[in-house]
């Protein structure tokens, strides 16, 4: 996919996020929107995957450690063809397979159940270790929130990954700067993020613009070329990216838009889409 196609796809992913959360009347749009471009790049460019064979043995794995941003993952999987886009409207409904947090048992394309913060990264580390143990060539990607890295287990996992030199592992931090209770530096600052991963023997790529596909590509290419140590990519992102009233607003961490807000959000994204098409 070229850059414009990726941008268009990411915009469709964003529409799916807003639609799913609006339909569910609950969910986490802010952190889903901030990572939409990263999800898009992962599933349309970076990872060796096949929507027709979601469980193929040699596929790359993705673990959404910040599992509450499932709408972002689901919308991307739907765009990629794992399941119908229409199903996004069943998010969080009784009887739907689209659970509030990722459920590997029932959702095609989901490699690990997650949602309890700090746990996904450990599972991703286990998968990367597993590949090393059996000389498999698949790579493992995991996305964490910048608030999530307040969890101590994240650093247990990082210590282990660095110690074992898991260069098939990419740990991504979606640094949108906001958590439920406010700014991350006001609540309990995890900064400096990059230095922490460096101290745990990671190759660190910092200040990557999470909404610039050239920057995203460069970061993943650098990660792939890195041998002998795991890579951490710290993505600088805008929470709620693409929806005017949600951007940089902690209040939209875990709240669904009402009908009027939904109309505004979709209009915002239509405008973004039109602008991309004119490029």
């Amino acid at each position: 996919m070229n850059k414009v196609e990726l941008q268009k796809t990411a915009n469709e992913v964003r529409k799916g996020i807003v639609t799913a959360v609006h339909s569910a009347k609950a969910g986490h749009p802010g952190g889903s929107l901030s990572a939409a471009d990263v999800y898009t790049y992962l599933y349309f460019e970076e990872m060796n995957i096949d929507p027709k064979d979601p469980k193929k043995a040699d596929r790359d794995r993705f673990v959404l450690s910040k599992g509450h941003t499932a709408p972002g993952l689901y919308s991307t999987l739907a765009q990629r063809g794992y399941f119908p886009v229409e199903d996004l409207k069943t998010l969080r409904q009784l009887g739907s397979y689209l659970q509030g947090h990722p459920d590997m048992k029932h959702i095609p394309g989901v490699d690990m159940s997650s949602g309890s913060l700090g746990q996904g990264i450990s599972a991703a580390v286990g998968m990367a270790l597993s590949a090393k143990l059996s000389n498999d060539s698949y790579r493992v990607y995991t996305l964490l929130g910048d608030g999530e890295i307040q969890e101590g287990q994240v650093w247990e996992a990082a210590m282990f990954a660095g110690h074992r030199k898991l260069d098939n592992l990419v740990v991504m931090v979606d640094n949108n700067g906001l958590q439920i209770d406010g700014k991350i530096e006001d609540v309990c600052s995890p900064y400096p993020i990059g230095d922490k991963f460096k101290a745990f023997n990671f190759h660190v790529i910092e200040n990557v613009d999470a909404h610039d596909f050239d920057a995203i590509k460069a970061a993943f290419d650098e990660a792939k070329a890195t041998k002998g140590m795991p890579t951490a990519i710290v993505f600088k992102s805008v929470k709620g990216k693409g929806v005017s009233f949600m951007e940089n607003n902690a209040g939209w961490h875990g709240k669904a838009p009402n009908d009027d807000e939904y109309a505004t959000a979709m209009a915002d994204l239509e405008k973004v889409g039109e602008a991309i098409c004119q490029k």
Partner: protein
């Protein structure tokens, strides 16, 4: 009579892992800096490349095991019961059991028979914790023979299994030619008509000895070994309750939430029967030699005997 052979089930665990490691190339053992104590060090010697020391980080270890299981390995995570079931409870629940991943938890140093380390390391709550998780199998073997068989059965079962092992060397009671381990099936070790003593773990041998003493007093006690606490052999429990009209449960675990509770859950619904729960009575343990602690907390043959006698 020949001398009683005693083996700690943590040793059985280490030995069984080596045996099974030969048969299952995808078996991987994880430990958290306790390989010498949990006896996974035995496996480390035999299969160094398949022994993963995670350092002192049990929550991460359980998560790593989840990732290993999700990619086709059969991981055994090993630590003391306190940390495997206690500290890492939520990781076991959410990362292992919710996705029903094929992770086996080998928890050693369960109960007060940890001895000198005292209350911080004496986990009397692990059965209760693990039993409450949907889809979790909970096994508490009674001796060396059963512990080794349980490891094998855990591998053959697809899904999460919690295995409880002890630090103290205890009598081997199952070394019979026809011994067979069946997951979820209790074992009648002695017939009796006045009372049914349902025991688990190291308390099984003590219950058998107590039954001898009761017999000398003219009390006929049926003794059942429940190695699988979940799923419980309800059929056997119900039959024993109906047969004897009085049930005693014995476990080296809190009387809250363990075998006693599992038996009461079953009986209260299907065949209300008076039950005496013998276990650790909602208190913490303390430092001391294991055998003296077992006696002090009333879990030895003498303690079981006197409680059953006044109950019957």
């Amino acid at each position: 009579m020949s001398e009683v052979v005693k083996v700690a089930t943590r040793d059985s665990y280490g030995n069984a892992l080596v045996e099974c490691g030969k048969e299952y190339p995808n078996l991987v053992v994880l430990d958290a800096d306790l390989a010498a104590a949990t006896k996974t060090g035995t496996f480390l010697k035999a299969f160094p490349e398949r022994h993963i020391d995670c350092g002192i980080a049990e929550c991460n270890m359980v998560g790593i095991a989840a990732g290993l299981a999700a990619t086709g390995k059969i991981p055994f995570v090993s630590s003391f019961a306190m940390f495997a079931a206690g500290r890492a409870f939520e990781q076991v629940r959410n990362s292992v059991a919710y996705p029903h991943l094929n992770v086996k938890i080998g928890a050693t140093h369960a109960g007060i028979s940890v001895g000198e380390d005292g209350a911080t390391h004496q986990c009397n709550e692990d059965i209760a914790l693990m039993r409450s998780i949907p889809g979790m199998v909970v096994i508490n073997p009674s001796d060396d023979v059963e512990a080794k068989a349980a490891v094998k059965a855990a591998i053959e079962h697809d899904g999460p299994v919690y295995l409880r092992f002890g630090r103290l060397a205890t009598p081997v009671i199952n070394d019979t030619p026809d011994y067979k381990f069946e997951l979820g099936k209790g074992v009648v070790l002695r017939e009796g008509k006045d009372v049914a003593i349902i025991a688990t773990g190291l308390c099984v041998a003590e219950a058998l000895a107590a039954a001898d003493k009761l017999a000398a007093d003219g009390i006929s006690a049926k003794v059942i070994n429940i190695h699988t606490i979940k799923p419980l052999d309800e059929e056997l429990v119900l039959a024993a309750a109906k047969e004897t009209g009085k049930v005693v449960t014995v476990e080296e675990h809190s009387v809250i939430g363990g075998l006693g509770s599992a038996v009461c859950d079953c009986l209260s619904e299907k065949a209300p029967t008076p039950v005496l729960k013998i276990g650790v009575n909602d208190v913490f343990g303390e430092s001391g030699p294991a055998t003296k602690l077992i006696a002090k907390y009333g879990l030895d043959a003498e303690g079981i005997y006197s409680k059953v006698k006044s109950f019957v």
